[in-house]
């Protein structure tokens, strides 16, 4: 039982990283109706930026600077590659973000090189005792930071002018435009927010084991998370991320014992299995808005 609880806490830790990435996907989706496949590249870039800055400024300042830097990069991408495509079919824009992802990742890989880069984080692989449970500090850090960020984000959407503008633009772009909301600014802000969150997520992915060229695959697990939660639901993104994390962690711990015929590393693909199962039951995810078909 203690093993199960420890596994769940690890899952919640990893899941909160998926939740951060998923929030980025959903924020961009709500503003522009496009899934940005560039998130993995931004996450990797964030982790690499932290690993370089941490040697200069120390860890905590490095995280903040890297997140702001990646938010700036995301702003640039939005301005150069996405804004000219307003009004084009969403599939086309999604494929463009796929192209952006490939390009940015190659550039970032140049900074990584062949070795593993360390984050210089204070948690490492240290463990801490929570009553009878022994868990790694970094899982708790992930969970705590994500909880704070999610709270701030929800406060931002509910209580600020810009949050209101973003909600209005997500609801109906033309009406929002007519009310004086700058939809272009909303697009830019959504990309910047997504970049910011992706950089923080990247830093957490890099804690403990460091960051290498293949780390970007982790960000793709946020895709099942948003599909499970529903593409246009912020709460769904958090719920989906945590679900995916916990399921993956449980499979990691117990699949070898109870279902060895599924093969080694089956845990890596469990997010996609969960996604398929949820979609068979609910085609718009757990909290997604059902698309109304009108003629």
């Amino acid at each position: 039982m203690i093993g199960v609880l420890e596994s769940v806490i690890r899952g919640l830790g990893n899941g909160s990283v998926y939740a951060l990435l998923a929030l980025g996907f959903v924020i961009i989706y709500k503003a522009t109706r496009v899934i940005s496949f560039a998130q993995p590249a931004l996450m990797l870039a964030g982790a690499v930026a932290v690993s370089y800055l941490t040697e200069v400024t120390g860890f905590y300042l490095a995280v903040l600077l890297a997140a702001l830097l990646i938010a700036g990069v995301a702003l640039g991408i939005e301005r150069v590659a996405i804004r000219p495509m307003v009004g084009r079919p969403v599939f086309v824009v999604a494929i463009i973000t796929l192209g952006v992802d490939v390009v940015v990742r190659v550039v970032v890989n140049g900074f990584i090189g062949r070795d593993v880069r360390q984050m210089g984080d204070p948690w490492g692989l240290h463990q801490v005792a929570l009553g009878p449970l022994v868990v790694q500090q970094r899982w708790l850090a992930m969970l705590a930071v994500t909880a704070v960020l999610v709270t701030l984000l929800f406060l931002f959407f509910r209580h600020t002018r810009y949050g209101l503008a973003m909600r209005a633009a997500a609801f109906d772009q033309e009406t929002a435009l007519a009310q004086g909301v700058s939809v272009g600014a909303v697009f830019a802000l959504s990309w910047a927010l997504a970049g910011f969150l992706a950089a923080i997520a990247g830093m957490f992915v890099g804690t403990g084991q460091g960051v290498e060229q293949l780390t970007w695959i982790v960000a793709l697990k946020a895709l099942p998370a948003i599909i499970v939660g529903g593409l246009d639901s912020l709460g769904g993104a958090v719920a989906g991320g945590l679900t995916i994390g916990v399921v993956e962690s449980l499979f990691q711990s117990y699949q070898g014992e109870f279902a060895p015929w599924l093969g080694q590393n089956f845990a890596v693909v469990t997010p996609y299995v969960v996604m398929l199962v949820v979609l068979l039951v609910r085609p718009y995810g757990l909290f997604g808005t059902r698309e109304v078909e009108r003629v």
Binding site: V92, I95, G99, V103, N109, L223, L276
Partner: protein
């Protein structure tokens, strides 16, 4: 144009279908429905297509064996790209899972043609006319199995689900080493043997020449079949679904049936392409069926031209020839290195080019290479006027 056609029809009501002659010097005047629907509807198209096929055949004698091998691979990828174009271009169902179906085709072909009782799974049927349809059919079966999900989902939900398919497939292929040889090891691919004649060994021509002609003939067969499909009732149903699926359903197109059909046919093409592609190199490794392969196929379709067969072929040729060109870069540009450990190396340049080309084509010429060709053609047709 349509007016002219209808009056012409009215004047000659009993023109036998297909026999009607076109007035000289008026290549765009159609006097019968069959003429309008013909695969090659103008004389210029007939002549140029014939010349292109002749040119492609004559290349097998002219070019060096190394180049022939690259081109043969490009033709096979073109078959796969046509397949993706059927489901994504004509029917409008975004699929990022093409690599998965290609993998199924490659392993079915390898298992059917592989030696019986060997190290890997094999049935010992090396004849190409057995393993090629088998590869296509098994892949099509998986396509049909996936399709029910696709009929419930729209747009980007579908894209993410097909993306998940690639990852699930990659896991299965890496684990099932009796079939695939396991990651990093791989197994022998399908043997192209035609009526007892092994085409992958030097026979009455060199190995590369035989494979080149085989792939060219197969590409022509698959391309004609796809063109034919696109102009048929099924093709029109696909386009209707792509343009507006609710409207299509209202005018009586059964959505589920046609979406399943689109996935089935597309996967059949992908399976055949998978079986054939690895028979050229003679070796399959389970790591090669990653997301990158799917992205390459999407790049071929987008760069070539969405919903055109000739565009898909052009795109496949373009992407495949990009590789030898970037590989020769280090000799021209000393900054770019052929060594993978140095930072600006050819592989990085190649990957960046894929990404940049996709972005540039989508921003500046969404119709792809085919669109460029249309522009050039229209320019000369209407010269000296600009419209």
């Amino acid at each position: 144009m349509t007016d002219t056609r209808s009056t012409a029809k009215a004047e000659v009501p009993d023109t036998p279908a297909g026999r009607s002659r076109r007035p000289r010097g008026r290549p765009l005047l159609y006097t019968s429905y069959t003429q309008d629907m013909a695969l090659l509807d103008t004389r210029a198209k007939k002549i140029w297509t014939g010349l292109l096929v002749l040119l492609a055949l004559s290349l097998s004698v002219v070019l060096a064996d190394r180049s022939l091998e690259v081109l043969a691979g490009a033709y096979v990828l073109a078959i796969g790209a046509i397949g993706l174009n059927i489901v994504t271009g004509y029917a409008g169902q975004v699929s990022l899972g093409h690599a998965f179906f290609v993998a199924i085709g490659a392993y079915t072909a390898a298992a059917v043609s592989g030696p019986r009782g060997g190290e890997h799974l094999g049935l010992g049927l090396a004849e190409i006319w057995i393993w090629l349809p088998a590869a296509g059919l098994v892949a099509a079966l998986f396509g049909v199995l996936v399709a029910p999900l696709a009929t419930r989902l729209r747009g980007l939900y579908l894209a993410v689900v097909t993306l998940g398919l690639v990852f699930l497939g990659e896991h299965v292929f890496k684990e099932w080493d009796h079939l695939t040889g396991g990651p990093g090891v791989g197994r022998e691919a399908a043997v192209p043997q035609l009526f007892g004649l092994p085409l992958d060994q030097d026979g009455f021509a060199t190995k590369e020449q035989q494979l080149y002609v085989l792939m060219l003939v197969l590409l022509i067969v698959f391309a004609v079949a796809a063109r034919n499909l696109a102009r048929s009732r099924i093709g029109r149903a696909f386009s209707a679904i792509r343009d507006r699926d609710i409207a299509a359903a209202v005018i009586g197109v059964p959505l589920t049936r046609y979406k399943v059909l689109a996935f089935g046919i597309s996967s059949f093409y992908a399976g055949c392409a998978g079986g054939l592609f690895y028979s050229i190199s003679g070796y399959v490794e389970p790591g090669s069926f990653s997301l990158l392969l799917s992205v390459q196929f999407i790049a071929m379709v987008l760069i070539g031209g969405v919903a055109t067969v000739s565009g898909a072929i052009a795109g496949a040729l373009f992407i495949s020839l990009l590789q030898p060109i970037t590989r020769s870069l280090p000799e021209l540009l000393p900054i770019v290195s052929a060594d993978t450990t140095v930072t600006p190396n050819v592989f990085q340049v190649e990957t960046v080019l894929y990404g940049l080309l996709i972005i540039l084509f989508l921003v500046f010429e969404p119709r792809g290479l085919f669109g460029i060709w249309i522009r050039v053609r229209t320019y000369w047709k209407s010269w000296p006027f600009s419209y």
